[in-house]
Symmetry: C2
Subunit: 338 residues, 2 copies
């Protein structure tokens, strides 16, 4: 990220100095993703503090000067030298570390980086699209007959690594039979049944995540449920454009499922932002007060979960454009892992 752009944004928010510890924020600001601990002091002359282990790599990659982190007194000395009367911390900073940063300044919480990260730059979208390509190519030739859920999960992860993704965006879900009725099922050693197989997976490319879900179905009832989920997803996607209230997107999707009588079986939000983190703002939920903005990247992922029977979820990633949603995921929505 261009540092002057960030400093201008800080200035607009009346922030003189802000401290970041979350690795995704450090990557966003400096271009360097710490392998363990990192800390950015964002101010007129910004600085990135890293562990000794990361110094060589950080100096190659970071767009701001790098020093070795020696403890929180070092941070306080830097702050003292500048005579700040207030400092700003990200929301996610642990209370234990916040305490170590106590000094002669007031501590405020800021989400100004989150607000920037919510709107994706062109190169960020391009990283996300690459991440989607890797993930989609990883499920094209799965061998799941007589395999356990864990084995299929292992195949998908293996394929994503082979395609150049260093790590999964999140724990890959492979859930068949009744296990698919749990939205966040943990794959186990059960052999995949001949009916439902729900797979929710994503890769990372240059630290950017992808996130998609497809559900294989077999019986008439399963097909019926999947058709409802797909209809809900598409009605949602077709209504998306810049300026639509986020709550409305959730309501539109939820209404389709409710009309078919499955409102109580859709037990999570309609979607979420995706970027350097798998779950970013905005949360697509009916209590959200904001609107969708151009260049947000979000998921639309309705699901219907029938306890002890089976569950179906279909999830696409979309880019918000002025007058429409651009669907970034390319796999057919009825992809059956054949």
């Amino acid at each position: 990220m261009n540092i002057n752009f960030l400093l201008n944004k800080m200035h607009e928010n009346n922030i003189k100095v802000s401290i970041f510890l979350k690795n995704e924020n450090i990557k966003y600001i400096t271009g360097f993703y710490p392998s363990s601990f990192g800390l950015v002091i964002l101010k007129e002359d910004p600085i990135l503090l890293v562990s000794k282990m990361d110094k060589v790599e950080a100096e190659k990659t970071s767009n701001i000067p790098v020093e070795i982190f020696n403890g929180y007194n070092q941070v306080k000395n830097i702050l003292n030298k500048n005579g700040y009367d207030e400092i700003h911390l990200e929301e996610s900073i642990p209370i234990g570390i916040c305490k170590k940063l106590n000094g002669s300044w007031k501590i405020n919480i800021t989400d100004f980086i989150d607000k920037l990260r919510i709107i994706k730059q062109d190169d960020e979208v391009s990283n996300i699209v690459n991440s989607i390509c890797i993930a989609e190519s990883a499920v094209k030739d799965l061998d799941y007959l007589n395999c356990s859920e864990l084995e299929v999960m292992a195949q998908i992860n293996y394929n994503m690594h082979k395609k150049g993704s260093w790590k999964e965006a999140f724990d890959t879900i492979v859930a068949s039979g009744a296990n698919s009725s749990l939205p966040h099922a943990i794959p186990n050693e059960t052999i995949i049944s001949n009916d439902v197989m729900l797979v929710d997976w994503g890769a990372k490319f240059n630290n950017y995540c992808s996130d998609m879900t497809r559900t294989r179905v077999e019986s008439e009832k399963e097909n019926e449920i999947r058709d409802i989920v797909i209809e809900a997803k598409n009605v949602g996607i077709n209504n998306i454009k810049e300026g639509i209230p986020i709550a409305e997107v959730d309501r539109i999707v939820r209404d389709v499922i409710s009309e078919y009588g499955y409102g109580n079986n859709f037990i999570h939000t309609t979607g979420h932002g995706v970027g350097l983190e798998i779950h970013e703002k905005p949360n697509i939920y009916f209590e959200h007060k904001g609107v969708l903005k151009k260049n947000m990247v979000i998921t639309i992922e309705p699901g219907i979960y029938l306890e002890n029977e089976f569950g179906v979820r279909i999830e696409d990633m979309i880019l918000v454009k002025k007058n429409r949603a651009k669907v970034l995921t390319k796999l057919p929505e009825k992809f059956n892992f054949d």
Copy 2:
């Protein structure tokens, strides 16, 4: 964990109510590991709050009553009903959430659960040993000739999943040639060279981690460096017993490497605790003020890193016994991935 035991410990620490959000702490307390968000209010009548998605599983597994989380007002209402004048939070709780918990009580930070988790119960050791077995079996038949670092990493992860480990304990490191000189190298698409290959990997079993490193060497110099690292590791391990100052363990290991003239090339701590998290207390470092206690599980992992040349690290996991260290990792220390 036995809840009465925990409540007694709280009582000893003069804590009436404590709130936990970290999933590993929730698992430790309740037996249930949330798939997304969870919150425990530990008090006379403790309660676990989970997302709607986790309710079915949480009710099956948790040893304390479960309710659906509806927001922080719900938590504050529960606290208000009990009329507490102070509450205790774990160190890792994000400042943003801490703010949402503001009320008519004083907020304190406590590490009493960390202090318990540092000493492993028998069933925890057994989970760790299972996790080690899975990880060790995953590197027995690697195919790394003409393979990239990423491909070898993919094989190891795949093998661990096939052996029943749902996820890696941390991002598997496979680093060859000059990449091995970075302690936290990220595997890339470079074909494995014929010299050094450093592999640092671990599995999870029932949420418990393993962590080990072996380094394949070829040349005389590489062999020499590996012999020094192994000597340092073993001198450290042979000195471990209940009561030894943690700083001394680090110093003993560091001294061996310094005597050979490589003190400045050992750029990280000697080890760390392992359990539900991959990095737990205690950090085996010369600034640590504590002593090793019976039934701690820690790593001993010296390394020598020669910039732009290569690096060697050898890492074992040990259980602290009364008069010795029990080495839990079984792979030969000169294992060459043959």
